[in-house]
Symmetry: C2
Subunit: 210 residues, 2 copies
Amino acid sequence: MTINKNCIIRLSRYKNALYRLKNLGFVKVFSDNLADAVGVLPSQVRKDFSLFGLTGNRRGGYNIDELIESLGNILGKDKVHEVIVVGAGNIGTALMNYKGFEQEGINLVACFDIDPAKQKKASGMPVFPLEELKDFVKQRSVRIGIIAVPDIAAQQVLDIMISAGIKGILNFAPIRLRGPEDLVVNNINVELELENVIYFVNALRKTRGK
Amino acid sequence: MTINKNCIIRLSRYKNALYRLKNLGFVKVFSDNLADAVGVLPSQVRKDFSLFGLTGNRRGGYNIDELIESLGNILGKDKVHEVIVVGAGNIGTALMNYKGFEQEGINLVACFDIDPAKQKKASGMPVFPLEELKDFVKQRSVRIGIIAVPDIAAQQVLDIMISAGIKGILNFAPIRLRGPEDLVVNNINVELELENVIYFVNALRKTRGK
DNA sequence: TAGATTGTTAATCGATTAACAATC
DNA sequence: TAGATTGTTAATCGATTAACAATC
């Protein structure tokens, strides 16, 4: 088994669950507990861990502090990662106001928008004209960017970001982005997820009667 | 092959791509075109369609208008679906301000929050006290809800929603929610997705030199 | 018709799950 | 020690992909 996106997502979930367990005062966990917290099977947990050389104690389970540290290192939490946002609309603004990134080593350093009106309302974080993106990203060697612009603008924005040196994208525009093979793109599409929930609620209603 | 979440997500993506093709003036598509637009293989497209009895013409491909209508019916776009939001923070507010749901037959009818301060600022949409959720949902037979509250509050909020009759959840809280087996839950976790992008950008940098 | 594309069946691939020996 | 849990290998499962006959 090669390392795979779902596997890394599970690592993040384990880490979140471990934070919570730690806050509750726990010191050790078994693969069983973690599996239950995250919604997978114990063998999946052990398998994931063994892929990254995370080991426990054959009777006492895993040490929570050690696990949190190791998972943090794997997931890049040892460094602070600078991230830019493009698009100061609803989503972009919500992201900029969100306080939780910092403690995960994620630092939203700037927002860019093509609309001068939005450049004004610097609600805590500076909103710059889109033309300044390239210089900014190059100067600070930013690698990660968030696209929160309408779908028609998304590819254009991506091209600018790529030319500036961005290597990874979190994309909120409901469109498939084209980029070089080594570009990392994760998509978040709220509408699609909602539509999906609606589908399965209706499908279950039809199947299970009433 | 049974119908599976990824398959339904692909149907939504096909639909979105078809809208765009239609706007560009196209009338027909081949499985090849759709596959390219969505980022899958042509055989995947045909396989998905055959699962739902969506047929084309063995030489002329598929009729775009027919496909859009059929996909809309499958995905429940024939009816308007009422949805409530719980939590009037950054995400909840962004959702309420978002204009794109309406044309997909999704109607955000109300928002609920436990904080009286947030109940005031009714920015377009009413924000009610959490206690009124149950009556509201029951009266209007709302089936779908969005959870946009902090993780510590999420399970509690879910329990209220379930008791009111909610059957499907879009959950923004970074926690695994517990509910009856027939409850549909989709999770969106921005932090986790960003962390994932960061991981793979770093992993690629290590692998592919530099 | 000949060529191209669908619809469907079979093969492949990879992830998840189960099982169990090692060992604390 | 005896019992419990890990770490890892093998089996299962299901989705994706390929192939190709049907047919427009």
